[in-house]
């Protein structure tokens, strides 16, 4: 197990450096002057340009610039946003709200996905299964912002069940509507995953053994089938997190949830590139980390994974 953990972490190192180098390259080696872009149409003072160049180390060779950037990341220095606030402070303020939203969304998605996926698999080919598959297909196809607008218009504006935007009041109870929207952007894939892995598990020998030794269905399904069917859900958590990153940016923007995604959304629509880059860097760092954790959990749950040579 220790060898597996070590190998997985060693594999992540080049990926981490590659990904940050790629983002950095995209932003600062592209045609166009990033400093001039900061000022839009205005012509800035040449002395100010020089000062900013020195501040962002743009007068140095590319690889030195990257070195400053990467050492900054290790000191948790992700730069300064447009309003002059360090990005890490903005993160500290907004992250708890996004975490709350993400936890609610994943909880909604997974509870629904596991229950519906299980019953779909048990009644494979039946009416319930087919209806649920069609609904899942529609949710796969619905772009997140269309889903958000539909929910906002029908559930909030028309029916008045929720407030259309969240704003400053963002306790658990206030986040229901964006959490439902974000949850349903994850739900469909998870439900289909549960369904297909349950169908796989139902055909396994140990399930037949469990039945043939006289165990009742009420014990076989939760203990022998469901538990084994959930392993693919865990390996899918990395992908879920990727979907949540994009989803949170759009959902928090539309429902005005003051979280990380909304800060990124505002930075994008205002064209504040350094802030966008800082936040994307944070996302990628967290994404690499989550994927390592997911792989380690997978290795814990399924011993076969640990012994496969790469």
């Amino acid at each position: 197990m220790a060898f597996y953990i070590l190998r997985r972490i060693l594999q992540a190192i080049p990926v981490f450096f590659g990904a940050t180098l790629l983002i950095y390259f995209m932003v600062f080696a592209m045609p166009g002057d990033p400093i001039a872009a900061l000022f839009g149409d205005r012509t800035p003072n040449p002395a100010l340009i020089e000062q900013l160049r020195a501040q962002y180390h743009l007068d140095q060779p590319f690889i030195v610039q990257y070195f400053y950037y990467i050492t900054g990341i290790f000191r948790l220095d992700f730069g300064v946003s447009f309003s002059g606030q360090p990005v890490i402070e903005t993160l500290g303020r907004t992250f708890p709200i996004t975490l709350r939203l993400a936890v609610m969304a994943v909880a909604i998605a997974f509870v629904l996905a596991i229950v519906i996926g299980l019953f779909s698999a048990l009644g494979k080919g039946g009416i319930f299964d087919n209806v649920m598959l069609v609904i899942a297909l529609i949710f796969v196809a619905l772009p997140i912002f269309v889903l958000a607008f539909l929910a906002q218009y029908f559930l909030a504006v028309q029916l008045g069940w929720f407030r259309p935007t969240v704003g400053a009041q963002n306790d658990w109870g206030d986040l229901w509507l964006p959490a439902i929207v974000l949850g349903f952007s994850v739900y469909a894939t998870s439900m289909r995953l549960t369904r297909s892995s349950t169908i796989d598990t139902l055909n396994q020998d140990w399930v037949r053994t469990a039945y043939s030794k006289g165990l009742p269905r009420e014990r076989v399904i939760p203990v022998h089938v469901l538990r084994n069917s959930l392993i693919p859900m865990i390996t899918d958590l990395g992908t879920v997190f990727g979907v949540l990153m994009v989803g949170a940016t759009v959902t928090e923007g539309i429902f005005n949830v003051p979280g990380v995604g909304n800060t990124l959304y505002q930075a994008i629509i205002r064209g504040e590139n350094p802030t966008v880059v800082s936040f994307v860097t944070v996302f990628v760092v967290v994404y690499v980390f989550i994927n390592i954790v997911v792989d380690l959990i997978y290795g814990l749950l399924d011993p076969r994974i640990r012994y496969v040579s790469s």
Partner: protein, 314 residues
């Protein structure tokens, strides 16, 4: 001195004169291969015909938009009509700028199709090349290409495209498709690599090498054609993904320039009047969702048709 085994009485099996059942090749049987089987499976499914017809409609509208509307692109916008309801000749009403919603949807179809197709071609070609070389040659090349793939896989392609598009001053269909395609190839490469690894074990690959074909020729004419099925499925699905990506990026304001007619831009512009004129938001959203739904349905039916395991799970 006689050999010791000469004294051992041998058992000699009697010659069996009854005819042995042999697997005969039935020459009158239907021809069968992966694609023929897939086609037989597909054509029996009504959903295939519905989604294929819708995809065909989308393609026709994008090639000949003039057949479906008389309003010229970006024309006929009068602020007097702002957020107006349906009128004669304008079945879906007007946007906030007073433009005809229906004609904008028709002209915007081309944008979605161009971006979707270009991005998919880029990501599929790059993915095939990277995956095929990694899987077929193996060794250090595999390690190198797979690590590069890991790096691109780590950055969700919409997030990467946000970064690229917020830096690049030019915002047209080609640039957007490049931004999406350049970051969406990693999953295609992984699937291609796995499939090439599988096909490489086949006897016909050994045969091709035995008759003296070069490694590269073997890969090109024997391995690749037999490893295409999963990639074609993924390409259909990533076409839907690219169309969604275009609209999400345009919605965020880092996609296509505001003057380009696209569903994403229309949805983005209509969101401010969601309370007063929800239909201007609804129609482009519906067009977008139905198109994505058609491509996804087609892709998934195709996947089920070429993959017996998926077929068994239905």
């Amino acid at each position: 001195m006689s050999r010791p085994d000469a004294q051992v009485p041998h058992y000699v099996a009697p010659i069996d004169t009854t005819s042995v059942p042999v697997d005969v090749v039935r020459i009158d049987a239907k021809r069968s291969n992966l694609w023929l089987d897939a086609w037989r499976d597909l054509r029996a499914r009504p959903m295939f015909w519905v989604s294929a017809a819708f995809v065909l409609l989308v393609v026709v509208v994008s090639v000949w938009p003039g057949l479906f509307t008389n309003v010229a692109p970006n024309n006929d916008c009068q602020l007097a009509n702002s957020n107006g309801g349906p009128a004669s000749g304008h079945p879906l009403g007007f946007t906030r700028q007073g433009c005809d919603v229906y004609s904008r949807i028709v002209w915007g179809t081309r944008t979605s199709v161009i971006v979707g197709l270009l991005a998919t071609i880029i990501s599929t070609v790059v993915g095939i090349v990277m995956g095929a070389f990694a899987g077929f040659y193996g060794g250090w090349l595999d390690s190198l290409l797979s690590r590069i793939g890991d790096i691109f896989f780590t950055i969700p392609y919409i997030i990467a495209a946000i970064v690229v598009m917020s830096v690049i001053p030019v915002r047209n269909e080609v640039v957007l498709a490049l931004a999406i395609g350049a970051f969406a190839w990693a999953s295609t490469a992984r699937i291609m690599r796995a499939e090439v690894l599988r096909v490489k074990q086949s006897d016909f690959v050994m045969g091709a090498e035995a008759i003296g074909l070069s490694r590269f020729r073997t890969m090109l004419s024997h391995v690749l054609p037999n490893a295409m099925a999963p990639v074609i499925v993924v390409a259909t699905l990533s076409l839907a993904g690219a169309i969604v990506a275009e609209s999400v990026l345009s919605f965020l304001g880092v996609g296509l320039g505001g003057s380009i007619m696209s569903w994403g831009n229309d949805i983005s512009q209509a969101q401010t009047s969601i309370r007063t004129a929800p239909m201007a938001l609804f129609w482009p959203s519906l067009a977008l969702t139905l198109t994505v739904l058609a491509f996804i349905t087609l892709g998934e039916l195709l996947r089920d048709a070429v993959d017996p395991k998926a077929r068994a799970q239905r």
